[in-house]
């Protein structure tokens, strides 16, 4: 489809259009021809990638930096002001042990924050179509006003009936213990919770790092607290001098000790009973639900459960973020058109149309929604109990709270400082929007509009990747509000 060569001037003018419609090139091919792209660049979830795909975090990382600063400042103050005294008067082993603990804490924090929590890749178009066919076959023909029942498969695991839910975003039946994180927009295996303090989901692959982080952090805070008190006492014996500067690490440590130790205790209980935070909060295996309810995943004794969680084999990442995109590989789409699409040009152009439609809808709804918006969607403060002394290091994990006001009895004295994510419907996704409709299983009808817009943008191919992976918080806020409003309108 090339223009004649006898009119070079006009050819230059038409070239851009010509290139796009050319059937000899794939639409995304004109970018691939320059540099081979890696898979993380077209990853459909809402994650941020750094160091060319080696580091993977959630989109909101502000609280992670806060965690880092708190740990470093507290430890820094300790090493600067207390250690010289203690090393000379007691033993030099104190700063050494403190140093080792500090390095270990940071190591575990980085490992928990930067690694893939166990994200399940989305279904390829063929798989999605195959599943749809199976579901349609089992459901039978639906009447005009009939809404198909939620897509659920039941499986018996070790004598317990477990329901596997169908994930509309990822187009898969979620494995047992997996859950879809709405913040990261991914299904995560053995989903524990999304932790803003760590800036990532906590799942199968990074749960042990998260646990070791909070355990070592509790040792570190107790260590610092104890030796700061020792320092103050020893000093006041000699000089009676208590400066305000000495007080500050004491106060910070005091509050953080209780919350972090509480959290470590809670997770120790979870590990020994082989449960996830998600399951514990929902009471999935509690005997209150049914007399013969028990945890089918538990190995029976505490030692085996602990060993399995902490020393078991580390599964590799399933998403291969640093791999190169193969032109013939079917890329997963965030929605299914009910048919297999092998031709990627068709796919790309179809998605471009969809994207334009969604963009224009988005702008219209944005204009309507703007007066309704608040400042920050994550910090939904006031929706859960807050600890006094909010400036503490405490509560590195914001666990999910149920819509019931009381905390589960298995969390004695635990409070996560302020940043609780409310759970709208205990059985399904975790949401942080308070204006999302209670219906968690959207009907297939308005599906194209209720899709996460960033997923579309990643497949559009002609969006600037830098823009994609570093969106302004306002932009994400608008997307969230649009999604919420569209879901409301679809009820």
């Amino acid at each position: 489809m090339h223009l004649g060569l006898d009119e070079p001037v006009r050819e230059c003018q038409y070239n851009p259009i010509c290139t796009r419609n050319s059937s000899s090139m794939e639409t995304s091919g004109h970018k691939k021809k320059r540099t081979p792209r890696r898979k993380w660049q077209i990853f459909p979830g809402r994650n941020r990638f750094y160091c060319n795909g080696r580091v993977m975090m959630a989109r909101q990382t502000g609280v992670f930096y806060l965690t880092l600063i708190l740990i470093m400042v507290t430890s820094g103050l300790f090493f600067a002001f207390d250690c010289p005294f203690l090393a000379s008067n007691l033993t030099p082993a104190i700063p050494v042990i403190g140093g080792v603990l500090f390095v270990f804490v940071l190591g575990m924090l980085f490992r928990a924050s930067f690694s893939d929590p166990g994200v399940l890749p989305r279904a390829t178009p063929d798989e999605a179509a195959d599943l749809e066919r199976q579901i349609d076959a089992s459901n039978g023909p639906s009447g005009p006003g009939y809404r198909p029942p939620p897509r659920i498969r039941e499986v018996v695991i070790n004598g317990q009936t477990v329901k596997l839910k169908y994930c509309f975003t990822c187009k898969i039946f979620r494995p047992p213990r997996a859950s879809h994180c709405s913040l990261c927009d991914n299904c995560v295996e053995r989903f524990d919770h999304h932790c803003p303090w760590v800036g990532n989901c906590v799942g199968k692959r990074n749960y042990r790092f998260f646990y070791l982080f909070i355990l070592s952090l509790s040792f570190l805070t107790v260590f610092i607290f104890a030796f700061v008190i020792t320092h103050v006492i020893l000093r006041s014996n000699r000089t009676g001098f208590l400066s305000a500067l000495k007080d500050s690490p004491v106060l910070v440590c005091f509050f953080s000790v209780w919350s972090i130790m509480g959290l470590s205790g809670f997770h120790t209980y979870l590990i020994s009973s082989n449960q996830t935070t998600n399951e514990d909060i929902k009471g999935s295996w509690s005997t209150k639900r049914a007399k013969d309810n028990y945890n089918p995943y538990s190995y029976g004794n505490i030692l085996t459960n602990c060993c399995a969680a902490l020393c078991g084999p580390l599964p590799p990442s399933l998403i291969d973020r640093r791999g190169y995109i193969q032109p013939d590989t079917p890329q997963p789409v965030s929605h299914s058109n009910g048919s297999c699409m092998y031709n990627s040009t068709q796919l790309q152009s179809h998605m471009c149309d969809q994207e334009h439609c969604i963009q224009s809808t988005k702008f219209v709804l944005q204009a309507a929604a703007t007066p309704l918006l608040h400042s920050d969607p994550v910090m939904m403060g006031g929706e859960g109990p807050t600890l006094p002394g909010k400036s503490s290091l405490g509560g590195p994990c914001a666990s999910l709270t149920p819509s019931q006001p009381s905390l589960p009895s298995s969390m004695p004295g635990l409070g996560c400082a302020g940043d609780m994510l409310t759970l709208r419907d205990p059985d399904t996704h975790c949401h942080h929007h308070h204006f999302v409709s209670p219906e968690e299983t959207p009907s297939p009808g308005p599906m194209p509009l209720t899709l996460p817009c960033p997923a579309h943008m990643t497949h559009g191919g002609h969006m600037n990747p830098a823009q994609l992976y570093d969106p302004a918080s306002q932009d994400s806020l608008h997307e969230d509000s649009v999604r919420g409003l569209v879901k409301l309108s679809s009820v």
């Binding site: 270990f104 695991i157 047992p176 060993c307 084999p313 599964p315 092998y342």
Partner: protein, 143 residues
């Protein structure tokens, strides 16, 4: 044999007639196991016993990868003590078994499935969700 195509040739030349997906079997919990039920679409192409044997071997290999035992605990403890830096130099046990699985699938494809116009895709490429069996068009040249 003249009729036997290499896998590359088959991928490039043959048209895909259908794809069959072998789903995961969760009756033993979250360990990676695939259903051994023989799909009806493959009835004309391959022997049921052969296929079930392939899937059973795959299941055994995955079970070996995720096995909890002395060696995996040792590896876990050692890794923890070195703050997980030893994985910069050596592979995890799981990764070693995944390589074995990749080799096994390659072998099976070369010996058994490609001559019958079928292709197994390594489950790791599909996020350990399914075993994808691609059925190529029946050339029916001298078969």
């Amino acid at each position: 044999m003249a009729e036997t195509h290499s896998l590359q040739d088959m991928r490039q030349q043959a048209a895909i007639a259908a794809k069959v997906f072998i789903q995961r079997d969760y009756t033993n919990g979250t360990v990676c196991q695939f259903q051994t039920k023989f799909p009806s679409e493959l009835e004309t192409r391959i022997d049921k016993q052969q296929f079930e044997e392939t899937v059973r071997t795959l299941n055994n290999l995955y079970a070996e990868a995720e096995k909890l035992g002395g060696s995996s605990y040792l590896e876990g403890c050692l890794a923890c003590l070195t703050a997980y830096t030893i994985f910069l130099c050596m592979e995890t046990h799981y990764e070693k078994v995944l390589k074995k699985i990749a080799k096994f699938i390659q072998e099976q494809n070369d010996k058994i499935y490609a001559p019958r116009g079928l292709l197994l895709t390594d489950p790791i490429e599909r996020g350990l969700r399914v075993v994808e069996v691609t059925i190529f068009e029946d050339r029916s040249l001298g078969r």
